[in-house]
Amino acid sequence: MDKRAMHGIIISVQKKVCDVRKKIRKFASGTGKFFKNPKKYISDYKAAKKAIISDVYTPLVHNPENLLEVNNLKMYFPIKAGLLKRTVGYVRAVDGISFNIKKGTTMGLVGESGCGKTTVGRTILRLYKRTGGQVLFEGRDINKLNKKQLRLIRPKIQIVFQDPYSSLSPRMPVGEIIGEAVREHKIVPKAKFNDYITKIMNDCGLQDYHKDRYPHEFSGGQRQRICIARALALNPKFIVCDEPVSALDVSIQAQIINLLKDLQREYGLTYLFISHDLSVVEHISDTVGVMYLGDLVEYASTEMIFHNYKHPYTEALLSAIPMPDPTYKMNRIILEGSIPSPANPPSGCKFHTRCRYCMDICSKQKPKVIEVEPGHQVVCHLYDKEQLNSLGIDPEEIVKHEK
């Protein structure tokens, strides 16, 4: 073999050995720290963790008009890596959002997939343990309840899941699916149990003889009715509807939406309606929140969102809806690219990478929540007049220029 080549191989092997040694030293230094002073190491680690998830908010004062109040809610999912499964980062699924829902009204939550809508719904129900913030249900912080108290409050907050094909147990007859929790929570006395289930099923448009059937015998629309009946049977005050009509056909969608509206009128229910279909949200909700990458970018009454939208993202979302009218000419704003990763969100305003009105400041500074009109909140630099004045930018000019 050629001497030179031999030499090259030796050098490369030496380099590799060096690399491995470095890695070992790095690892040992970490563990060494741990063994030197375990208490300090752990407290340091916790402090670092806390710094990432800073839980700063002013506690809410409960307003009796509101059934649900959400204050700076955060839900981070840890990313674990390495041999010791240490947390190396966080997926910021929900990054500090606040809203409240009045009794007997519906709030719609819209946004692209992956923006954290479903996580909000689940965190409110305490199906996930929240990272930060406050969720008040009738003035009580859901996250501070103990097991017993939580059990008492569970029947009052229910959820209807997106996919009726996978959210029903295939081994239970429908009567049992609906009745299981009723029996468990002792909603009605035993003697009235059967009549009660029948009544709930009738209310949801199911027949008495469906009780002994299994979920596979039903169509998609009917399954979604079973899901709604299951939630309704516990006499809830608040239902989270997590995309209840997305998996259904158009004509069946209309049936389910009408059913939800009728039930709201009859029982005085409050809904959080999560959907990516804006036309459905407009039809059913009283207030709408638009989410982007874990942030609530615009929050107002339905009318304001659909007719007097402010945030550029809302504008783009609304313009993307296809209209069932071939002669309708629309001024479509097509957003470039797709939603960035929530594990590594863009700096400043998270939307600035796709925004067509993007300014210099957008990538540097996080925008504040601005109340444009009473009850209309926007998180965008374009409407922060004081700041723009100090920078000498006229927002109208930017908008005009783009249009």
């Binding site: 209309a254 939406i257 036309s279 407009e282 296809p322 069932p324 071939p326």
Partner: protein, 400 residues
């Protein structure tokens, strides 16, 4: 005496209830004997068709045909695609007739299970065999030089057409790409198969230009990526690139945007429209979203339970819907900017596909049914040159 009578009436009531329950069960129940008999007859039918299909050296004259109108790419002529199952024959497509003109987009709408996907699969000859068979009718496909009758075309010839002259974009980009091959290789495969004269470097260059064509900025990078590294919208773009690889004469888009977000949907639809003009091919767009159809399609076909109930230009269907089902579909969709208190919903459900009634399939759900509806299935009634509807409500007007 009176006590006895009461007992009797109570008993009869119980029996009646049971009888009703048994009757309800019977409608879905088939005895083992009956099921075996059905499967035997099914096998006889499918074996006969399969035998005919598997012949070697089928003469060209058998599967070549003539177009009714040379300006069409595809003509569906009274197509019947049946599925022979053990509980009975499912007539998934039952006499469908429509044309796809060159350079136009035809939208097919309907609820799930109405046969819109099976119609497109029949065109590609991709219906699950042997239980699924196109038993009657002609699907004429115009390649420019020759006209094939897809129903009779042998598989070996189909392989030269499929992916080359006609291609398909499937609903779920997540499941229709192979997870163990790189994106580049999956596009190369199509090109290599249909263009054996191309060299490897030519194929790669073409693949990269295709990726650029569908709006992927980092084409060189994506060429080496695996499907899981891409987002849903990007995967759908790759699927479109594969479909476009050989400049097909017709692209079948089977719910191309159902699995995507509104913003990504807008991107993909814009791309499809742009590309259609660029390579001058036709699109057959299958979806249940009326908004997408209105935006994309020149002609619309509305299907219900395996049959076409209304067809016409997009303007005719959306501005002047005639069939009660089309009207119901249009009314049941909430529209942004239009405030209504209650959505219209079509009463009832889609009928069981195994035992279809002899009368109009929509009669039981129709709010406008008249006496004639109890008779035969209504024929297609001509309203204008392009607008046809299958409903007796308009037959009477025509006669007057």
């Amino acid at each position: 005496m009176s006590k006895n009578k009461f007992h009797l009436s109570a008993l009869t009531a119980v029996f009646k209830k049971k009888a009703v329950a048994i009757e309800a069960k019977k409608a879905h129940y088939i005895s083992g004997k009956e099921s075996r008999r059905i499967s035997r007859t099914n096998r006889r039918i499918t074996n006969r068709i399969e035998k005919e299909r598997k012949r070697k050296h089928v003469p060209e004259s058998e599967y070549l045909s003539v177009m009714r109108d040379p300006n069409n790419v595809v003509e569906f002529d009274n197509v019947h695609t049946y599925f022979f199952t053990d509980i009975g024959t499912v007539k998934a497509v039952d006499g469908v007739t429509f044309d796809v003109p060159i350079g136009k987009t035809v939208g097919v709408v309907g609820e799930s299970g109405c046969g819109k996907s099976v119609t497109s699969l029949s065109l590609m000859q991709l219906v699950q065999r042997p239980q699924g068979q196109t038993v009657e009718g002609e699907i004429r496909f115009n390649t420019g030089s020759k006209v094939y009758n897809i129903v009779k075309t042998p598989t070996s010839v189909m392989q030269t057409l499929r992916g080359n002259q006609m291609s398909m974009i499937f609903q779920e980009p997540m499941t229709s790409l192979n997870p163990v091959f790189r994106i580049g290789m999956q596009i190369n495969e199509v090109l290599e198969l249909h263009n054996p004269e191309m060299t490897k470097t030519e194929v790669k260059a073409k693949t990269i230009s295709l990726l650029e064509l569908v709006g992927i900025a980092n084409a060189e990078g994506v060429y080496k990526m695996y499907p899981h590294e891409l987002s849903g919208g990007m995967r759908q773009r790759v699927m479109i690139a594969i479909a476009l690889a050989c400049n097909p004469r017709i692209i079948i888009a089977d719910e191309p945007t159902t699995a995507l977000d509104v913003t990504i949907q807008a991107q993909i639809l814009g791309l499809l429209r742009e590309l259609k003009d660029k390579i001058n091919s036709s699109i057959m767009l299958i979806t249940h979203d009326l908004g997408v159809i209105a935006e994309m399609a020149d002609f619309v076909v509305v299907m219900y339970a395996g049959r076409i109930i209304e067809k016409g230009t997009a303007e005719e269907i959306f501005k002047n819907p005639l069939h009660p089902y089309t009207k119901g579909l249009l009314m049941s969709k909430p529209i942004v900017g239009k405030k209504i208190d209650r959505l219209y919903n079509i009463p009832g459900n889609v009928p069981n596909p195994i035992n279809m009634p002899d009368y109009c399939y929509f009669k039981d759900r129709c709010v406008k049914s008249i006496d004639v509806c109890n008779g035969q299935y209504p024929p297609m009634i001509k309203i204008s040159d392009t607008h046809y509807v299958a409903c007796y409500l308009y037959a009477a007007k025509e006669e007057k």
